[in-house]
């Protein structure tokens, strides 16, 4: 949806991730970029260069926070100290919404630093949704949860991934960060039709989309974020955009990062599909 309560009623266009190799280009050339997505954890520090850089970026650009360690799906309770740090950053960036993943990654306070897939059960959905509500109430900012790419499925699952995502966001009454590349990667790893996934989620809850590149191996696909976006992912993105409307879109490129212009130009290809969706809607 162009603007909804899950993305703070904003109409952001195409953005890219703020990454270290591009800092000097951004600061010196001040390129026109609609918005930057920052990894919250990189700036949940107490001083020094990271915060100085962030403040400089905030003077000139719109920034949205994306997290990798909230672990909505972990059985552990939310960590209050972590939430306080995150809230301080939310106040600093004035992010209109905040996203993190529908996954788990820590247990009993030990961290894997990975985005591990959930068992898709009703009890897990209820627990996850309860945590999302608690966290949103504390942070006082809309939350969008992102579907992750995965390489394993579990016997305990009681539903499909898209049914689980829907169950969680409906109970939590939160938004979706729809990662189209992750859907594609998981569809190949788990043999489902990615269009079934996109067709069967609550489109009105999508507040943002992610696109990215991946790497094919003989027996599986890895979500590597080190390539341009592949054609099947663009097609799926075009389909999702037709269903969900023109939505804030972000290209993730996190490894083997090329020049700023190359990353930005790759992201801007999304505009072709956005224009197509606009025409189709007229």
């Amino acid at each position: 949806m162009p603007a909804n309560r899950f993305n703070g009623q904003t109409e952001y266009g195409v953005g890219i991730g703020l990454r270290v190799p591009h800092y000097s280009h951004i600061l010196s050339k001040k390129p026109t970029v609609d918005w930057f997505e920052i990894i919250s954890e990189n700036f949940m520090v107490e001083g020094g260069r990271p915060l100085e850089l962030l403040d400089t970026i905030l003077e000139q650009y719109r920034v949205v926070q994306h997290g990798v360690s909230m672990y909505f799906g972990s059985a552990d309770k939310p960590d209050r100290a972590h939430l306080r740090r995150l809230k301080n950053l939310v106040k600093r960036t004035n992010t209109p919404w905040l996203s993190d993943h529908l996954c788990w990654g820590s247990v009993d306070g030990s961290y894997t630093h990975d985005l591990l897939p959930m068992p898709y059960t009703f009890a897990a959905a209820r627990r996850t949704a309860q945590k999302i509500r608690q966290i949103r109430d504390f942070l006082e900012v809309p939350i969008c949860v992102e579907n992750v790419s995965s390489y394993a499925e579990f016997h305990a699952s009681e539903m499909t991934e898209w049914e689980f995502l829907t169950e969680v966001v409906e109970i939590a009454d939160c938004g979706i960060l729809l990662d189209v590349n992750n859907i594609y990667v998981s569809s190949k790893n788990h043999d489902f039709n990615p269009y079934d996934y996109v067709n069967n989620i609550p489109h009105q809850r999508v507040g943002q989309m992610h696109i990215a590149g991946h790497t094919k191996f003989e027996k599986y696909i890895l979500d590597t974020h080190d390539h341009p976006v592949l054609d099947p992912v663009w097609k799926l993105y075009a389909h999702a955009t037709r269903l969900c409307g023109v939505t804030a879109t972000l290209l993730e490129w996190d490894d083997k990062i090329p020049s700023f212009d190359e990353v930005h130009n790759e992201a801007l290809k999304a505009n072709e599909f956005i224009d197509g969706a606009k025409k189709a809607a007229m």
Binding site: V45, R49, S106, A156
Partner: protein
Amino acid sequence: MKAPPKHAPKRIASTADLRKFQRLMATAVMRPLTAQDGLQPRWIDGRSMEKVAAEFVKPNDRLSSFERLQLYNRMYWFRLFDAIRDDCPGLIAALGERAFDRLAQAYIEKRPSRSFTLRDLCSRLERFIVDNPRLTAPRTALAAEVARFEWAQTVAFDGESRPVLPAEILARTQPSRLRLAIQPYVTLLDLKYPIDSYMIRVKRRDTLRSEASNTPGAASHAGRRRRRAALPGRARTFVAVHRLDNRLFYKRLDPAAFRVLSALSRGATLTVAVAAAGPRVIPARVRQWFKVWMALGWFCERGNKARGRAS
């Protein structure tokens, strides 16, 4: 992390079931890799890992349950190895690749991350080296100091900065009542080896290697083949690792100056701290030190966390 259940829950119908499931999978993901970078063939109780994985991970027509779990096991270790290597170039250079890898594996296995951020991964490494001297023998003392120094760099890079204490407060408060705090990002180090000059050599060598190649990825490849840097001989050294204008600096300290700063960081009054310099230090010299430290912005008001760190 608490012990995993003997068997995976067949149904996940409660948060308690979810926690059991997550303990089981996290234990599997975080177990050390085999020498061939694979998932261990036996579970912690000696059962076949194939069977344990099959209890909770579905296979598909291309990958077994074991192989699917192995993907996560590998990604965990590769990610944490990359992070610890990024933070420890000095330790790699001091120990050599193989010894460092042994240390890193033992550390990650015995002290799994307890923080949401990999930034904190090496916060307990010095203690671990001291507690497990066999892993770094015969260079344990040097390795522990390099680890302490590299952690001090992390703190100096993004540690908390408190408002600098205004000069007028210093001027108008009785020295016998004045207690200064040192910025949390400043770490005072009392070292048996000149680690500051050693770290400069390591960084210079790595920079030169990186500049000498024009092939993409050459820097990281060169990093993999790092040789030991010339190791420093013993020489007691006092250093403050700090930042100025958000750039990292090492500042050598006179032993008497170190005593003054350490006393301040412990909460001593200015009078007591200055006395720690000893009778042979003339007042003009102490005034000069304070002038420099104030110019560097090292002094701040005392707060809950604003205690200088001397070690």
